[in-house]
């Protein structure tokens, strides 16, 4: 208790300090049988990329490094710390990191702790309509790339990275910085308000009850605990949205070569099928990661196929017509044979699609449901939400994790501002700048991804030629394309 009063920069209100001093002078005549909760400045529930980034940012910044912080994570973080895979095996949960996210990770000192040989920058994107073949090609041609340290980096669109690589790197940096009370392997049993004791009135401070018996009281409780966030339910914030009735099938694939442009310049591919987009994103060497959004029935079929047939389905997804694909999804087996027949009669340009997939890594075929959720607000009294707890987006633009990192960057800046201006970091007034900076931007991105998904769900009708004309038009309008690429990369908006 004295430590709290005396430590530099601790913000305990006057009346609490007075009652504390009174009690101390009285000589601890009260029994200490009632467990006084552990009080922290920031308690972050959730040890995913968003939570770990936030704590790293707070600890790395000298302005906020004195704050007493705690991390609560249900899973055992030792596994994440010691995560390692051989160079020819990749985890199936990968995300694309925009240059803005990478700049943020560099600024908090975490980027160098990622296994950089497992991070793959890519420099070109080919996106096309599966029904009509209308195509849009993204790459930073010479002269329109944003300024960068050297030429190749300036042409990078984004970086493909395994999620475990990111969390493991963040954890390494956090261990290096130290000063975080980590409660891993502890589930959150309940979140209530703190007690009112003789010394303190914590009735407006959230109290986290862990399965291990610990009780953490937070000046600011940050919910980085995923789509079904208990912190969000505690704060009474609802997250309306809808389920897409789609599953994202992921897998790690081995290709026949390093890519059409070799190892130095990698290309990401996305084809919009009527059932959903299928994306192949490059990983180091001959490997790629697949994200195929499709109906739950199709996802179940894909997961049940033999490896040879699954490989044939993936190759077919980028080359064959939607009619053929729909038929192949109804087959229980034999897609490899069907594919080798149909590919002879389907005119296609081999260089416009990814190279042939030759193998799928064992055990990496999995799926997860897709949905859209946006919390009504990101802040409440002494509560803030970041990452998937605040918003869930369709993966077709690869923006979900980057939105989370953007949230964290903004929240860390808001907390820094509050600290330098002597404010209580947990009150809504201090958190308001975070909400105003992030809410609208996230909402726009969620809306755009949702409308793209709906636009490309049509397989016939007037929408099909209209959207193809639109896509070809955007492909031809270089300034508009550059604008879209800058927004997707998270670069700041420059009008002139």
């Amino acid at each position: 208790m004295d430590a709290l009063v005396r430590s530099r920069g601790a913000y305990v209100c006057r009346s609490c300090t007075r009652s504390l001093r009174r009690q101390w002078l009285r000589g601890h005549s009260y029994s200490t049988a009632a467990t006084t909760p552990d009080i922290y400045d920031v308690v972050c529930v959730g040890g995913g990329p968003a939570g770990l980034s936030l704590l790293t940012a707070l600890r790395a910044n000298p302005v906020t490094s004195h704050l007493r912080v705690a991390l609560v994570e249900a899973q055992d973080l030792a596994k994440v710390r010691s995560w390692t895979l051989p160079p020819d095996r990749f985890s199936n949960r990968c995300s694309s990191l925009t240059p803005a996210s990478v700049r943020f990770l560099e600024s908090i000192g975490a980027w160098n702790h990622l296994a950089r040989d497992r991070v793959q920058p890519y420099h070109e994107m080919q996106v096309w309509d599966g029904v009509t073949g209308a195509r849009i090609e993204f790459d930073w041609g010479l002269g329109s790339a944003p300024p960068a340290r050297h030429a190749v980096e300036g042409t990078t669109i984004a970086y493909m990275n395994e999620n475990l690589n990111l969390t493991s790197g963040l954890l390494k940096r956090l261990d290096e910085l130290g000063g975080v009370a980590v409660f891993d392997g502890a589930k959150v049993e309940a979140i209530t308000y703190g007690p009112e004791t003789e010394e303190l009135d914590l009735r407006q401070w959230p109290l986290v009850h862990l399965s291990s018996g610990n009780q953490l009281c937070a000046r600011l409780l940050v919910g980085a605990d995923g789509a079904n966030s208990p912190v969000r339910s505690f704060a009474g914030i609802s997250a309306p949205g809808w389920d897409y009735d789609r599953h994202g099938v992921v897998a790690t694939l081995e290709m026949e070569g390093d890519g059409w442009r070799g190892d130095q310049i990698k290309i990401a591919y996305q084809r919009f099928l009527p059932t959903g987009p299928v994306a192949m994103l490059p990983m180091p060497g001959r490997f790629s990661t697949l994200v195929w959004s499709t109906t739950p029935a199709n996802a179940a079929v894909l997961k049940s196929l033999s490896r040879k047939d699954f490989v044939a389905m993936v190759n077919a997804a980028f080359r064959l017509s939607p009619v053929d694909l729909a038929y192949m999804h109804t087959q229980e087996a034999g897609q490899a044979d069907e594919y080798s027949w149909r590919i002879q009669h389907t005119p296609h340009d081999p260089r416009a699609v990814p190279q042939e997939v030759v193998a799928v890594q064992e055990g990496t075929v999995a799926s997860f449901p897709l949905r859209l959720r946006h919390a009504d607000t990101y802040i409440a009294e002494r509560v803030a939400l970041v990452g998937d707890a605040a918003h869930t987006v369709h993966p077709l633009a690869g923006q979900g994790l980057n939105q989370g990192q953007g949230d964290v960057q903004s929240l860390a800046k808001t907390i820094e501002y509050a600290v330098t201006h002597g404010q209580d970091i947990g009150v809504t007034m201090s958190l308001e700048p975070y909400l105003s900076e992030r809410y609208a931007a996230n909402h726009v991105l969620l809306g755009v991804c949702d409308k793209l998904h709906k636009l490309y769900s049509a397989s016939s009708g007037p929408l099909v030629p209209l959207r193809s004309v639109g896509l070809s038009a955007v492909n031809a309008l270089t300034p508009l394309k550059s604008f879209l690429m800058n927004r997707a990369a998270g670069n700041p908006l420059k009008l002139f």
Binding site: L142, R261, I265, S321, V323, Y327, H345, P347, D349, R351
Partner: protein, 314 residues
Amino acid sequence: MEVTLKRTAALVARNPLQQHAAAALAAAQHQRRRPFSFSSLTRPPPNYPGHVPLSPVERAALVVGAGLGSLFNPYRGDLIAIFSEVTATPYFIYRLRDAMLASPTGRRILRDRPRITSTSLNLPRLRSLPEGTVGRTYVAWLDREGVSPDTRAPVRHVDDEECAYVLQRYRECHDFYHALTGLPVVREGEVALKAFEFANTLLPMTGLSVFAAATLKPSERRRFREIYLPWALRNGLRAKEVINVYWEEQLERNVEDLRRELGVEPPPDLRDIRKREREERRKKKEAEAAAAAAAAAAASTASAAEAAAAAGSV
């Protein structure tokens, strides 16, 4: 020219990104896409044996020429064939091919690529099949109409090789559709069958052939309007795709079973109706002739009597 090329090559060699662009351009020039418009001197190479690619002007000319020619002379089977080929693209033949790809039987047909010719079908064996089977009905119809499964003209002007086979298959199965519906080979029957095919396959040639109903006799036109056109639209739309029937496997099946499975009800027998109408016309003509003869006889008797009276009076 040489100097410029060398300089360009040197510039390209310096920049790795531009190197790729140059390589892509070279590759694209090697696999040049088919030009949209060409003259008969620069015709692109064929996609399959017998393929003759058409330029847009040639295509338009054939649409008009073959269309009008086959309208005025329906015996010009070659013009009808050309008309079907030049009107099949865009969209319609691809839709038909996709309809085949969507069905397991259709896919098997596309894989096996069976052809119906007078040699591939064993007609004597079909004649020996029991009454009521598809094969027997087909052969009976061939004999009744006095036609043979002559080798239909090969498809020449459809660019995609698989779509060319689809059109060829449609052409060769046409006689089976006659047997399925029981419509005769006369102009009236052909027009009714074309209306049915249009409602089922959506090929433009079949739809435009319905305009040949304007060349029918008034009574035939009335019959077509009142009976056969409604029948064709109703059955064509609700029936399954007839292009997906693997006829070679259905020859020994009962034709009523097949009709039920496809959802096709046979129309009123056109030959019977025409025969009855001919009989009625003949009877009416005979009655008229008899009445005329009687009237003429009466008139001549009257005039003879007059003449005799006149002669007698003289």
